[in-house]
Structures are given as C-alpha cells and as structure tokens.
Amino acid sequence: MVAMIQKRGLRDFDWLLAFLAIGIVGFGTLQIRNAQPTENYWVKQLIGLGIAIVAMLLVALNDYRKLINIAPAFYLFGLVLLVIVLIPGIGLRINGQRAWIKVPGIGQFQPSEFVKVTTAMMLARYFGKHRDGVLTLKEMAIGGLILALPIFLILLEHDVGSVLTYLPILAIVLFLSAIRMRYVVGAVVLGVLLLPAAYWVGVKTHLVKNYQQERINVILDPENADRRGFGYNTWQSILTVGEGGLLGADTSAAHSQSSLKFLPEPHTDFIFAVTAGNAGFVGCILVLLAYVILLSRLIAGAKRAPDRMGMLVIMAIVGGLTCQIFINIGMELGLLPVIGVPLPLMSAGLASLIATFIAIGFAISVQLRRFVN
C-alpha cells in the first residue's frame, strides 16, 4: 500500500499548492531582508522553511485518518505546551505577552500557532463522523469546549490576537457540519446589531477603557487620531503602504520607513506594509492573488476529500488562514486595530511557518488519498 501511494504520489501530489506556499515564503524572506537588512531574520526564516518542508512531507505522506484518529493525543500535547509557556523561566515575555518558548539555536517558538493545527484536528475528528441530521445543541457545546480550552490558556498569555484567529476555525466547522441556517443568520444579524450597541453601552458605562476607545478611534479616523501615541503604528503602516504607490517607493533602502525605524516590527507583524512599500500596488495584488489561489486550491481539495473528516480538517485550516491573512493585512492597511497576528507564510516566525506547512501537508495528504476508501 505504501508503494502504491508513493507511485501515485508523484501524480497526485499537489505540486502547485506546495510550490505556491514555498514561493510565498521565498518572496516573504526577501521582504524580511528588506525590512531588517542588518539582522539575520531572513536566514532563520530560510532554515525554518527547510524544517517546515520536512514537516509538511511527513504529514503529507502519512494517512491523515491515522493522524486524526490520534488527534486527542496531539490536542493534549498542545494544551501542555500552552501550560508550559505560562511557566516563568521557560515562557518568554515579549510586549507584555507570555506567548513564546525559548528554543536553543532557533530562537523563540510560539505554541499558540502550532496548537491551532491540533485544535483543528480535534474538531475535525469530533465532527467528522457520518452525519444524517442537523447539529444538536450538545454537539455544538462540545465543539465549543474543544475550542474553549486552548483559548482559555492563550488568554492567560494575554495574547488576544491569537484568540481571534481561533474563533473562525470553530465557526467554519460548525457551519459545514450542518448547523441550522437560521442559527447562522441569527448570529450574523445579532452580531451586526449588538456589536455597536455593546460598544456604545461599554463607552457610556466606562467598561470599555479609554485606551481601548482610542484604538477604535484610530481605525475610524487614522489621519486625525493620536498619530504619535495610540495611532502611531497604524499611521506609520498606512504611510509605508501609501508611499509604495504603483510599483514601490523610490526611497533608497537606507532611508525606508523600516530602516529608519518609523515602522515597528517590520519583519513580523508589519511585513505586508514593507512589501507594499517595496513592491507597490502591483506586488501587493500579486501577493493577494497568490493567497487566493492557495486558498482556492485548498478548498478544491476539501471538495474532493474522500470523507467528512478530511473535508473538515482542510476547511478548518482554510478558515484559520483566511482569518489571519485578513486580520493581519487589514491591520496593516488601517482597517482593523493593531493586533499581534502574523501573516501566514510571510511574517518571520518559526511556529507560524511550520504550523502553516503542516496544515498544507494535511491538505496534500487528503488529496493523495482521495481514491482510497
């Protein structure tokens, strides 16, 4: 059977998906180098890419059903990592968040990125059974619980941004697991109505703190918000993006927004702004197109999945990736408040890179086994 898969592998292996991902990382590495020419982040990223490709192959060449069947073990392992990160001495505190584990030789590692994959696997396992009717409340509650455990631990790290990228994983799994349409519509309508109302009540009752209001104001009107304080990051990001124009800024590399340190965290959270500044509108649209093709390819794979479990694990991953891409780029374009969420495949960071490639490995694995039943 292994031989058969390997022979078939050459034909059915999703080369486009793999190379698209590697291509985006390569382009991203170039931008990391642009952002921090004097640091070796880009070298680390290339090393990370090597590790990530190995991890992807390992996952792709194994049967995803076997992996998902032991998902509870991965899930538990992930929870343990999230607990470990909270232990002072092991967990690194950066910008008030204790979200990193120090790994000798490579640097730091963010478990919450990795746990996203194990959580998606766990959800896929639970909801992946053959299904006849609509979702029961009990099923929804258990799904919520699977998500709630890691979210609770991540909140203890004060890493709100990561939490936001977890929610769509459950949402998409529930949606595709035949949740009643009226719940979906109800949730959307309620959200649209309640969110501004809750914000208004929060402001009036001072439950929403001043600095939180400031952050909202920055998004509503970055131009006139506190450009030197709360609005600084957003404003500098907008300037960097805007300066890129059609084909990239004509400013010399030594005088760029990132070189002169106007743009904060240019190699991680604000890598897309760096890209926009260097490659302009054309480059940005090409990057967005690459993401669209990547995501479409994954969805196509999900549609051809031999079972519900395979379909769900791919779509959970798609939900997580899309949400991260949208939050990160939205933040860099001044559409969303500044939240520390990396841009998948482009931001410098080992955990995010490996997690994304493992996710892609799953998708490839599902595709490789679409004719086996």
Binding site: I172, D226, G242, G244, L246, A254, A305, L333
Partner: protein, 649 residues
C-alpha cells in the same frame, strides 16, 4: 463531493465560504487601491517629510560699525546652545522635561518651566532654547544622553555682543527673542517663536536689514530623531552691516563727561548741523545691553529686574524719550521768530528788562536788571524780562507759529524707536491740564516765552532747532544711519542692496527749510557768540580761534531756583561751532545740577576739545580774556577742516 452528503447543502455552504473568502481579500485589494493609487502621493509626501528634517543654521546679524566703517560697536560671535526640538518630542510632555534638564544642564528650573509654558503653547514653535552658551561639559552630556533625551540638540548660534561698559547702549539697543504679540504683527512675517529680533535702538529700527536669512541643513533622521544622513546644506546669509554716524572719540568723551558729572545723569548729543548726522549720543545712566542675553539665567534675570526697577531709569534714552523744559535755551528760537514776525526789528530790537514783569497781580522776575537791552545783549546776558515782553508782543499765536516753523510740535524723526512728542503751549493744552474753563492768559504767554511750564521738549528736538539756527534755517532729520552695506552678489536673487539714510517718514522734507533772512540770522548768532565770547553766561568755555556760539538754560524742576537739593533744576547748554561756519552742534543737559552755565557748559568744552584735536591736529586753546565782538564780515577765516564730517556734507 466524494462522500455521502446528506447534511444541509454542503456544496452550497462550501460555496458560501469560498465567496466570503474572495470577498474579504477583494476588500483588502480595494483598500490597497485607495491607499497606494488614490492617496499614494499624499502619504508618500508625509512619509518623506517625517524623515527629512530642516535644521536651521542661524544667520549672524549684520555688524553695527562706527562712522569709520571699521570699528565694530556690536557684532556677533558663535556660541553653542542646547535646544529642544519639537518634532522629536513625540508624545513626551514638555513640562516633565524641565526638572531633569534643569538639573543636568545647571539652568534655573523655574525659568526653564516658564519658557516651556510660554513657547510650548504656541502652535508654530519648532524648538526651544534650553541652555545658552553651553559649556563643553554640557555638550558632552547632551551627546551622552542621546537615547534618553533624543529631542535635545546642540546648535551653533551667533550671539550678539555689545561694549560691556554700556557705551552707546541707548543707540545700539539690544536684541531678544520675538514675543508672541510681535509674531502676530505683519512686519515680523515669516519669523517663528524663538527667533531673535532687535528690541531697542538701531537694532530695532533697522532690524529688517540687520537680520540675516537663516540657512539650513537638510538631514535624514530616524524615528527617534537621530541624524542618519545629510542631503544638502544651504548656507545662511548674514545681515547687512550698518555703518553709523557715530564718531567714537566724541562719543567716548561725551559719555565720560556724563559719568563724571555731579549727578551722573543727563544727555550729551552731538550733530553735524549741515546734514543731521548724529556724531555722538550719550544718555546717562546707561546699562549693559549684553544683559539681555543673560536673561535666561537666575543672575541675569535678577540683574534685569534691578535695571528695570532702577529709579534712575537707565533703560530710557533721555535724548529722545525724555522731555524737559528748555529754559533759557528757548530764547534762541524766540529771538529768530521775534525778528521774523516783526515783534522786534533789526534797527530797533530794544525792549525793557525792568527786573521782571508785573502781569495782573503777579510779578515774574528777571535774574538781573538789564535796563533796556537790544536782542544781542538780551541773549548774551539771558535777560528774562526782555523775553517776557517779546513773548507778549508775539502773543500765543506768534509763539505757536514759531513752534510749528521749527517743527517743535512734531517728532524729529530720528531713526531710533519710541521718540516722544514735545509738549508745546496752546489753549488746548491749558484746558487739558487745568480744566475746561481755564482760559489762556497773558501770564501764560509769559511762561511760554521763557521755556518753562508749557514748553517741555526732548534734547534731540532742541539740538535740531539749534543746528537749524546754526546753518541758517535748514532743519535736518537727525539720524544715526550712515550706510547699510550691501550683501551678496549684485543681480543674484538674494542680493540685498546697500542704502543710505532716508527719513522713516518719507513724506517729510529733509531738510525742512525755514527762510531766515541772513541779517536776522547774524544778529541772533552774534548774541549766541557773545554768550561764550563776550562775557555771557557761558564765558567759561571760550576757545580762542574756535568761535563757539551757545546758550545756557535752566530747566525748572519744582520752581526755578527754589530747590537746591535732590530736585535742583536741570542745567542746559546748547551750542555750535564755529559760529559763522558751523561744523558741529551740541546739546548738553545735566539733570538736577542747578544753574545752566555752571555744569553743562564745562562738560561741553571737553567735547569741543576732542573735536578740535581731531580736526585741527592741534591742542585746543585755553580760555582767553573777553575779545571784541567780531563782525561777520571781518571774522577770521577758518581753514576748511579736512574731517570726515566735512567730507560728508
């Protein structure tokens, strides 16, 4: 779908998800289009501006020079200042920096706080001076604390320097930072808070010319304001050098005479009667104009407050900002006007002295009893009784005509700021000072005719009058500007052409010509000549061969001659020389020193001595016994002196 799909429309749900994803990414694309293509130009400009910093290179002011065109009276030398730049302040509170900076740089914390509050509240402020004239230690401290205080910078700046002994302080004036009120004025357009402007004296009058145009360094800074690269440097253009009409030798002796006078208060001003150039202008007590550059320190501020509150008022330029009754010096224009108006004639100028005059029931006395003197004798002996009667013959209207003809109801137009207007007699003046029902009476005319009560004028106005009498009726506008030197290449866009003096009020004729018939002129001059040379009230200063014509005066402070203590009368002496070919005119006033001839005249003699040595290359002759009055036609011809003054005619 490979597997059995019995749940609710999985295929369409996947389609919904996919559409949603495309929609989200499309939204990002639209936003990119807006930011990069629609607004790209705008953001690029802002991004460029935040990394480009224009660091001003302050331009030195033009030097102020003596009339030799070489000796500097005020110049600028570079010092280092520690300044705080607004752009690099980011969200730090200005006020919170006052204390640590005051401690580290040894400046007064309260003063610094004041500056921060005053300048920091102005929207246009770019930088604030933290410490002036920083020591190498201060500079090292700023450089060592670049990370902690990135908003600090050391800047080279020209510092104005004046003679430390206060010489010419009232003429030169001083500079200081522009005030918020001045910033709003149209003539200071283009200046920013912290810029240095002339605040007094010539520095103020000719500020536009003396002020240079700042240059700048265009540099690239990082987000903390640290300079990374320099793109271009535009050198500053210095201001125009100003050559004054001041003759340093005369100025020095004039100031020395005031310094060594009884009360050490007064005015000596010297003018070329042939063109209005002021050769010396001394006002005592004086002050050190350098004090205003020390005002940022505790000691400097205390010094400033002391000068400001000094009851002797050293900041006042007494020559143009103080008024005094002219006393008997008033008799000179009275004499000219009396002849011109026909109150007396050349053939019959005799009037009764009578030891005084009885008007109504009030007797106003003369200092002596001169019989029935002619005009010449009345001037020489300073006969009050004569001029009471002359005044009554001319009447108030005649006196007012005289005042108008000699421009005494106007400012002289000297090129110094804040000149005060004389007070001169009129019916309105009496009503204004003594009530609506106070009618002008003959006794008032008597007062107005001998330079007291209703006549209160500036020394510079009196000097101008005497100079006009000296030259036969030409009233020049007194001025201190000889020349502003050009700066830059002729034809270049930043070329600033040179210029000579023009009255600030361009509608005023310069000179204003007062037609005094020559014979009348000679008669008055004979009287003035006699004051010094024919046993008159100024006989003590006579110089043989150098005919000084003059007139003593006593300005009543409380009541003429009544107080002999602190409020003694002011002593005047106005003069010019040589009597029939004037080269130099002079006014001297020693405050509260008593009778005119006694103190003011000897001080004047020292000035003439210096002038004589300078122009005749010989020792001045001492006082000689009274000689016979020379007639103008047979006067001793004086060799035309080869002096700078002569060349300037």
């Amino acid at each position: 779908m490979k597997f059995e799909d019995t749940s609710q429309n999985l295929r369409s749900r996947l389609w919904i998800v996919q559409s949603l994803i495309l929609l989200m990414l499309a939204l990002l694309g639209v936003r990119l289009y807006y930011l990069q293509l629609v607004r790209g130009q705008y953001y690029a400009e802002i991004a460029q501006n935040q990394r480009i910093r224009l660091l001003p290179i302050p331009a030195p002011r033009g030097d102020i020079l003596a009339n030799d065109g070489k000796t500097a009276l005020a110049n600028s030398s570079p010092i280092y200042n520690v300044i705080l730049s607004r752009e690099d302040l980011r969200d730090r509170k200005l006020i919170s920096l006052a204390k640590p900076l005051a401690e580290a740089l040894a400046v007064d914390g309260d003063i610094l706080l004041d500056r921060f509050e005053q300048i920091g509240s102005q929207p246009a402020f770019e930088s604030i001076l933290v410490k002036q004239d920083a020591s190498p230690g201060d500079i090292a401290w700023v450089e060592a604390h670049e990370l902690e205080f990135p908003e600090l910078r050391v800047e080279q700046q020209p510092q104005r320097r004046y003679p430390a002994n206060g010489m010419l302080a009232h003429v030169l004036g001083y500079v200081g930072e522009i005030s918020p009120e001045q910033l709003k004025q149209p003539n200071y357009k283009g200046l920013k808070p912290g810029d240095v402007i002339g605040l007094s004296g010539l520095e103020q009058t000719y500020d536009d010319y003396l002020r240079g145009k700042d240059g700048y360094r265009k540099v690239i800074v990082d987000s903390r304001g640290r300079i990374q690269d320099e793109i271009e440097t535009i050198a500053p253009q210095p201001g125009q050098d100003l050559v004054t009409t001041i003759d340093l030798d005369l100025q020095n002796v004039a100031e020395e005479q005031l310094r060594t006078s009884v009360t050490q208060r007064g005015v000596i001003a010297v003018m070329n009667p042939n063109n209005g150039e002021v050769l010396a202008l001394a006002s005592a007590p004086t002050f050190d104009p350098n004090l205003f550059s020390r005002i940022g320190t505790k000691e400097g501020r205390a010094e400033y407050v002391a000068v400001l509150n000094d009851p002797q008022k050293p900041l006042i330029n007494r020559a143009v900002q103080s008024r005094y009754p002219p006393g008997s010096t008033w008799k000179i224009p009275m004499a000219v006007a009396g002849l011109e108006q026909g109150a007396i004639t050349l053939d019959d100028s005799n009037l009764v002295c009578g030891g005084g005059i009885m008007v109504g029931n009030k007797f106003t006395r003369c200092m002596g009893n001169h019989g029935t003197p002619d005009l010449k004798t009345a001037i020489t002996k300073s006969c009050d009784g004569y001029f009471y009667r002359l005044g009554l013959k001319m009447g108030l209207d005649g006196i007012m005509t005289m005042i108008d003809e000699f421009d005494l109801n106007k400012r002289t137009g000297i090129d110094l700021p804040n000149e005060v207007l004389n007070m001169t007699p009129s019916r309105e003046l009496k009503k204004r000072t003594q009530g609506e029902n106070a009618e002008w009476k003959d006794i008032d005319t008597v007062y107005a005719s001998f330079g007291q009560v209703y006549d209160v004028i500036t020394p510079i106005a009196l000097l101008r009058t005497i100079a006009a009498v000296a030259n036969g009726g030409k009233l020049y506008v007194p001025h201190l500007l000889k020349e502003l030197k050009p700066v830059g290449e002729a034809g270049a866009p930043d070329y600033r052409p040179g210029r000579s003096f023009q009255p600030l009020d361009s509608t005023r004729p310069n000179p204003k010509v007062l037609p005094i018939p020559e014979d009348m002129h000679h008669l008055v001059v004979e009287g003035m000549w006699g004051v010094v040379n024919n046993g008159g009230t100024g006989a003590a200063i006579r110089m043989a061969g150098f005919d000084i014509a003059g007139k003593t005066g006593t300005a009543q402070v409380v009541g003429l001659g009544k107080d002999v203590g602190k409020n003694k009368d002011h002593s005047w002496f106005v003069s010019y020389a040589p009597a029939y070919q004037p080269e130099i005119a002079l006014v001297a006033l020693i405050e509260n020193s008593g009778f005119g001839g006694q103190h003011a005249a000897p001080a004047v003699r020292r000035v003439y001595d210096v002038y004589y040595r300078k122009t005749r290359n010989a020792e001045p002759p001492g006082a000689l016994p009274v000689a016979k009055t020379p007639k103008p036609e047979n006067k001793i011809p004086v060799k035309k002196p080869e002096t700078q003054i002569a060349k300037n005619q």
